[in-house]
């Protein structure tokens, strides 16, 4: 256990607890906060935000309630932060790969909002994904089969996940969910547009607000096609035109995503999303998590350009192939 990390962690938790005077999203929403306006009259969401969290998407099996008490939530945060710091003992291989103190990969270092929810999913009320339809199960089984037919994960670059290939980090979305690092966003608002710069693999989300239709149904992309509108204080973004490869939690390409951004305090945006995909789940489901104000700037994340890991993994596998072939040849010549 490295004591320095624990000291840092506990100090940050104090900061976080002070920052987040509101104790839950539900409470925060009842406060009569009205966001400042941009010159063209939109509620102002501009700034740097983070949605870092230790809260899981689905409720852990042993937890039976929807909300923790403040004390419980703080304790969980403290334990999770300590565990995360602890995993990089100086001089060990994980410490070389991910030096958390150097790169800020330790989630609590950047500050995070205290969230009383026991899961990000709040609908269904049990905090779990709804049951998958038979069609959804078949599709995901077929996807697994297709992956198997492609061969082993180190046989070719294309056999690796989209994340490893730096094409789309699996949680960067949309919907925008946090991972262990790079959970930062910059929002700017120009006339007729909201622009969300997602730090993870420098993903620009340009959301037009002019009520235009979605792209034709055969023009699809991994992150879909997003169209926004204001409903009072809330930015509502509808995204369709996903691909079969998007497969968010096993979704189909016809998934319809609705995101709702509401600034509920000077330093906080309430981010909610609903997934409607009858080809995959028996009912729509929804989740929410806070976006906490943070500091900028967001630096360039040139993931693909620096992707030595993938080259090295494949090169290592080919070296193993060669060794095996040589060993086999040696045996047969004996």
């Amino acid at each position: 256990m490295n004591h320095r990390y624990v000291v840092i962690a506990s100090r940050l938790i104090v900061v976080v607890a002070v920052l987040c005077a509101t104790t839950s999203l539900a409470v925060a929403q009842t406060r009569a906060y009205r966001a400042p306006r941009t010159p063209d009259g939109q509620p102002d969401l501009q700034g740097f935000w983070t949605n870092t969290t230790y809260t899981p998407l689905q409720r852990p099996k042993e937890v039976t309630k929807e909300l923790y008490t403040r004390e419980e939530a703080l304790e969980i945060l403290k334990t999770a932060a300590a565990l995360e710091s602890e995993q990089t003992e100086p001089g060990t291989i994980p410490d070389v790969h991910y030096d958390f103190t150097q790169f800020g990969l330790d989630r609590n270092q950047g500050g995070l909002a205290l969230n009383l929810r026991t899961s990000l999913i709040f609908d269904p009320a049990n905090g779990q994904l709804p049951p998958m339809t038979e069609e959804g199960q078949k599709r995901n089984a077929a996807r697994a089969e297709a992956r198997k037919r492609m061969g082993g994960p180190t046989d070719a670059a294309q056999n690796q996940s989209l994340s490893v290939r730096c094409i789309l980090m699996d949680r960067a979305g949309p919907p925008m969910l946090p991972g262990a690092y790079n959970n930062n966003y910059q929002i700017i608002q120009g006339p007729g547009y909201v622009m969300i710069l997602v730090e993870m693999i420098h993903e620009p989300r340009i959301v037009p607000l002019d009520g235009r239709p979605h792209l034709p149904p055969h023009v699809r992309s991994l992150t879909g096609n997003s169209i926004g509108r204001w409903e009072g204080e809330t930015l509502v973004v509808e995204t369709t035109n996903f691909t079969d490869k998007t497969a968010f939690q096993g979704s189909s390409e016809n998934m319809r995503l609705t995101e709702r951004f509401t600034r509920v305090a000077e330093d906080r945006i309430d981010y909610k999303f609903t997934i409607d995909d009858p080809a995959t789940w028996t009912r729509p489901w929804s989740a929410e998590l806070p976006m906490q104000k943070t500091i900028g700037p967001i630096f360039e994340h040139a993931c693909h350009e620096g992707n030595r890991g993938l080259s090295n993994t494949l090169a290592g596998a080919r070296l193993e192939d060669k060794k095996r072939a040589e060993a086999a040849a040696g045996k047969s010549s004996q």
Partner: protein, 270 residues
């Protein structure tokens, strides 16, 4: 009579000279762009260069494709270039490097690998880009590789680290957005012909609206490791007028994977 004619001619010439000087001083245009809410020229929109500089920023004749299978469809179109004075002032060693880059462009050009295009190259690639303008930050979102530049209008600072797209500090000079960019990693190229720069690159760009749907783009390029003196490019940039114009998703990594990793694919029988 003749005297009076001469006098009035002199007067006309004097007025014309004043007018010409005034025109030159505001960047070769007297057009005044519509204003944003904070009173700055409104450069918001979807824009695209329309020239052959993405093949070669220097003036060049037509040439065959380096991929014979593409035939005439892949041929290099002739272009007059965007470099003022025509040719780049390479230092001798850099001129050699440029030649090598050109000969090996199929494997060396960062564009073929879907790497971030850098500056100024991003501005004359054959894809649209969008300017989203706010008082403190201006973002330029490019179609190619989904590259993004943030131009810091307020909190100017030195580049915290090197990057592909560099670190851009911006300011307004009357009608012109002036962007000063440094902090490059030196790995980007300037075009498909192997023109290149080092990490010492310093680009000063000037974006000036010359009409409702046109920008004049000018950039001064300085790189003491590669060029003997600063040089300048300039070109018009056009507004994409389609009603539904938008930056579509050109996520090109997967188009480059066979090129980058193909030699590491498992061979049958192994």
């Amino acid at each position: 009579m003749l005297d009076r004619f001469a006098r009035s001619l002199t007067r006309v010439a004097a007025i014309a000279a004043v007018l010409l000087t005034a025109t030159a001083a505001v960047g070769q245009t007297t057009y005044k762009a519509p204003r944003t809410s904070d009173g700055k020229p409104n450069l918001n929109g979807i824009w695209q260069a329309l020239n052959e500089a993405y093949w070669d920023i220097e003036a060049h004749a037509a040439a065959p494709s380096s991929v014979p299978a593409l035939g005439a469809a892949g041929a290099i179109p002739p272009g007059q270039g965007i470099v003022e004075g025509g040719l780049l002032p390479y230092l001798p060693a850099a001129a050699e490097q440029k030649k090598k880059n050109f000969e090996n462009r199929l494997t060396l050009d960062p564009e073929t690998k879907c790497y971030l295009p850098g500056v100024p190259r991003a501005n004359y690639m054959p894809y649209p880009f969008q300017i989203i303008q706010t008082p403190k930050y201006i973002m330029m979102v490019y179609t190619f590789a989904r590259a993004v530049r943030t131009i810091y209008m307020d909190d100017h600072q030195e580049a915290p680290a090197d990057s592909w797209m560099g670190w851009s500090n911006g300011r307004w000079e009357n009608e012109t957005l002036v962007v000063d960019t440094t902090g490059f990693n030196g790995m980007a190229w300037l075009d498909r012909a192997g023109n290149f720069h080092s990490e010492a690159l310093h680009v000063v760009e000037r974006f000036t609206a010359t009409g409702p749907d046109h920008l004049l783009y000018e950039a001064t390029i300085e790189d003491k490791n590669v060029f003997s003196r600063p040089w300048k490019i300039s070109m018009p940039i056009y507004r994409r007028m389609e009603k539904n114009a938008q930056i579509l998703d050109f996520r090109c990594v997967e188009f480059a994977e066979d090129l980058i990793y193909g030699h590491l694919r498992k061979q049958p029988g192994n």
